[in-house]
């Protein structure tokens, strides 16, 4: 078949992070001429720092208290951000459009009840009939709503219930790469006429002892005070987890033009692959991925958003890969987004796509997030932004967000 592939436009963005809510807030802080102070909590998950989610007004997107009560903080944040994106794209409250909107959510799972878990662990430790005690404790302490709040696919379920999105609904799992696969799949479907409008994104809440435990098992967390992601190479590396809820509306060009909607940017390409992470393997994968986008990367300055999470040796490998772009005559202006926002896991890639779209639509790139010299200034109007994503455990991806041949949404 030689059917011309549809262009994929980004026509809606819903964004909440540790630094604030909405594109304007992020734009102001990331272009103020100095490095914004990240929002860091050193107590909640001590000895690890986290970026807590900013206060937001849940009721503006999830008006019914009965709906709010059915979710934990993770599902609430995702459902809230999804509502923002639908509003922003002009889809919210439009039954016809909502019924034709497909959804791919990148999800981990919802919060466990830390108090209940803790009480059960402490009791089991000294019990002489732990099996019976565990069953009795679970039967008396768990609540039905808590289980539903933990289910991974129930973020999508809640988005359908609260906002009325009812075409296809899929939930992808798999940490950072779930976010990549969600957007890569949605884009492939749009390009091939398997859907015109997709709501894609995810959320992560860093203030969660159950996830702190999981990451601590792999010694993957940065200990101590906040530090720029690049500077963590000096002390064995480590992640600072971040909180964010982000959803994007991806739409075929034809569909957006037919309903008179201007894009923030175009999703030109998302490519991904994996390896077993033996030394040098991820760098090799990234080189292969680069070949798939390189013809669209002219020589000269290039705006680059890196999702580098901070664990070693990936940190050093990804940095070396990005700096090797210079061998192709490209001068990368790298921004390590995790320095300011932390690793927002499943939400990380959608978040970087949102930031890249913001930069394209406003015609400027962000000030450096780090002053060690690795992040060079970028004074041009960025026609494209390259996003690099390496999962903390598995998976590598490159994506190119660029300027379509069409009027963009600016600061209107």
């Amino acid at each position: 078949m030689n059917i011309e592939k549809s262009e994929v436009w980004i026509t809606g963005i819903g964004l909440v992070s540790s630094l604030g809510e909405g594109l304007d807030t992020h734009w102001q802080q990331l272009t103020a001429g100095n490095i914004p102070a990240p929002s860091v909590d050193t107590e909640d998950q001590a000895p690890y720092s986290v970026h807590p989610i900013v206060d937001y007004d849940l009721a503006t997107q999830i008006p019914k208290r009965s709906d709010q009560r059915q979710m934990g903080p993770w599902q609430q944040l995702g459902t809230y951000a999804a509502g923002l994106a639908l509003d922003d794209a002009g889809i919210a409250h439009n039954p016809d459009l909502l019924a034709a909107t497909n959804m791919i959510v990148a999800a981990g799972g919802g919060e466990r009840d830390i108090e209940v878990d803790s009480a059960i662990m402490d009791a089991l430790d000294t019990s002489d009939n732990p099996a019976a005690l565990l069953n009795a404790s679970l039967m008396s302490e768990l609540r039905p709503t808590l289980f539903l709040a933990q289910l991974s696919n129930l973020m999508a379920g809640n988005i359908s219930i609260v906002h009325g999105v009812t075409d296809s609904s899929r939930t992808f799992m798999g940490e950072e790469m779930a976010g990549v696969s969600a957007i890569e799949t949605a884009a492939a479907q749009i390009q091939n006429g398997q859907g015109e409008v997709f709501l894609v994104g995810g959320a992560y809440i860093a203030e969660r002892a159950d996830m702190t435990m999981l990451m601590a098992l792999g010694d993957a967390l940065w200990k101590g005070d906040h530090a720029s992601v690049w500077s963590r190479a000096k002390r064995d590396g480590g992640m600072i987890m971040g909180s964010a809820g982000v959803f994007l509306v991806l739409e075929s060009r034809q569909h957006a033009e037919a309903r008179g909607v201007k894009p923030y940017a175009r999703l030109n390409k998302v490519v991904s692959d994996r390896c077993n992470r033996r030394a040098g393997a991820a760098h090799k994968v990234a080189e292969t991925l680069l070949e798939q986008v390189s013809e669209q990367l002219p020589e000269g300055p290039l705006a680059v958003l890196s999702g580098c999470c901070g664990v070693q040796p990936q940190l050093s490998e990804e940095r070396a890969f990005l700096e090797s772009l210079s061998e192709r005559g490209i001068s990368p202006a790298i921004r390590g987004a995790t320095t300011l926002f932390g690793n927002t896991m499943e939400a990380q890639f959608p978040f970087n796509v949102a930031l890249a779209s913001l930069a394209i639509s406003r015609g400027a790139f962000f000030d450096p997030f780090d002053n060690s010299g690795i992040e060079q200034p970028f004074s041009d109007n960025p026609e494209r932004v390259l996003i690099s994503t390496w999962g903390h455990w598995r998976g590598e991806s490159l994506a190119l967000i660029d300027t379509p041949d069409a009027p963009l949404r600016g600061e209107d």
């Binding site: 009480a119 430790d125 069953n135 379920g157 359908s160 779930a178 479907q189």
Partner: protein
């Protein structure tokens, strides 16, 4: 090269060239089919963990695989591996450790089991076990003594391990749409082949995550049968006395290929995926819209995707969970979507024998739908001694039926409102 064959919408035709299955009934197609057609139940008393104080003491566990101490991701991985080995061997596709296409894995979300949580909490010998609760758990986690659990409990863990072993292409996709997950995995494979992104896809579902807490959770939703005294009779879809589903484990793998690619390499075609349909519900977190409109749409859209009409459906592989709500709603939706043809269409629930394999169910039932076409035999809905008088369908009660079958519809409806319908036919398309 022969002429490229397309479906009614000009898309590549998707066929199945390999099937693998493991359920509470046994391992492999032959053993499962023999038990399915003789109306055997795989439901038993739970022996994996103590059921003292639980309302439900039965399940269709696959508890003979012997990985040592139970650990959910290792068990789900073991089941997935079995079905993948069988399917890939049947298909003779690729070479050992090199499957020429992507992996779509339906899998339940990763969760640390209580045994492992307590193992970490208690710490390795000589641990500083001061403090309590998560403070102690997190501190012991950071000792490095339990590093093997780090990758194991990532949400992408099982798919990554499978991708390493079977050499699938690209980033594997782990997905969940609750009880529709297995069918969603097939959908994603169909869509990738129709796009021309790949000539083959490995579509799998696995469920090995049944532990105390999972039983308690579904108990609290009043979803499980409590007919503990008669395990084999407890799952009774469409019966008047049905009282909930029976949890179960298992895995199935389908090797999907484009018709052209399968023909070109001379592969035996086991069936055609004619179409898929989907529609998310907005009503409730665990219940369908009372008018059934989302499920009706799901079924109608699957028919539209195939270009077939209701009359072309020869038999239905039901979602048929044995919960009062599901079976009633499935009947309502089928009545609306298929109209008078429903009265002439046998509908059978494999869950009456296997139990409800949650994340794997859609894939397992897709596999059985294809075996049904191949054999010309419809497995029965067992335990149907008093059919619900409000469910007026031919549910193939208790005894298999010999009947030539060309096309099967397979339904999967999930908590969270995610509904999928798949339609399979015999070759030729």
């Amino acid at each position: 090269m022969g002429q490229s064959v397309r479906d009614h919408k000009g898309r590549p035709i998707v066929v199945v060239t390999g099937i693998g299955i493991v359920t509470s009934l046994g391992e492999g197609k032959a053993d499962n089919w023999r038990k399915l057609t003789t109306g055997t139940s795989g439901v038993r008393k739970i022996s994996r963990f103590s059921t003292e104080g639980l309302r439900t003491e039965i399940a269709g566990l696959v508890d003979w695989t012997g990985e040592g101490q139970y650990c959910a991701p290792l068990h789900s991985l073991a089941l997935a591996r079995k079905s993948a080995v069988e399917a890939i061997a049947q298909s003779s596709i690729g070479s050992r450790g090199s499957f020429p296409g992507p992996l779509f894995l339906a899998v339940s979300p990763a969760e640390t089991n209580w045994d492992q949580r307590m193992e970490i909490y208690r710490g390795a010998a000589g641990s500083n076990n001061s403090g309590s609760g998560y403070e102690r758990l997190v501190r012991n986690s950071a000792t490095g003594d339990f590093r093997h659990y780090y990758s194991l409990y990532q949400f992408g863990s099982i798919a990554e391990h499978l991708a390493d072993e079977f050499g699938t292409r690209g980033q594997p996709i782990s997905l969940t749409t609750a009880c529709a997950s297995g069918a969603t995995a097939v959908q994603l494979g169909v869509e990738a082949i129709r796009r021309g992104d790949t000539d083959a896809a490995l579509c799998m579902g696995t469920e090995g995550a049944i532990c105390e807490e999972v039983v308690v959770r579904f108990t609290l939703l009043s979803a499980l049968s409590t007919q503990n005294d008669d395990p084999q009779g407890a799952s009774k879809p469409f019966s008047k006395t049905r009282d909930g589903f029976v949890m179960a484990e298992g895995s199935a793998t389908l090797v999907l290929e484009s018709y052209d690619a399968a023909k070109a390499r001379g592969a035996k075609i086991l069936g055609v995926v004619r179409g898929t349909g989907e529609r998310a519900d907005t009503f409730h977190r665990t219940r369908s819209k009372p008018d059934g409109s989302a499920i009706i749409d799901t079924i109608t859209r699957s028919l539209a995707d195939t270009g077939m009409s209701a009359e072309d459906i020869d038999c239905i592989n039901a979602h048929g969970t044995s919960t009062p709500e599901n079976d009633k709603m499935e009947y309502l939706a089928l009545s609306e979507a298929l109209g008078s043809h429903l009265a002439d269409t046998p509908i059978s629930s494999n869950k009456s024998m296997i139990g409800h394999t949650l994340s794997a169910a859609g894939a397992i039932e897709a596999a059985i739908s294809l075996l049904t076409i191949d054999a010309g035999v419809i497995p029965p809905t067992i335990n149907c001694h008093e059919q619900d008088p409000n469910i007026l369908m031919d549910v193939v009660p208790n005894v298999k039926r010999d009947q030539a079958i060309n096309t099967v519809m397979s339904n999967s409806f999930g908590f969270g409102g995610q509904n999928v319908c798949l339609i399979f036919s015999a070759e030729p398309a």
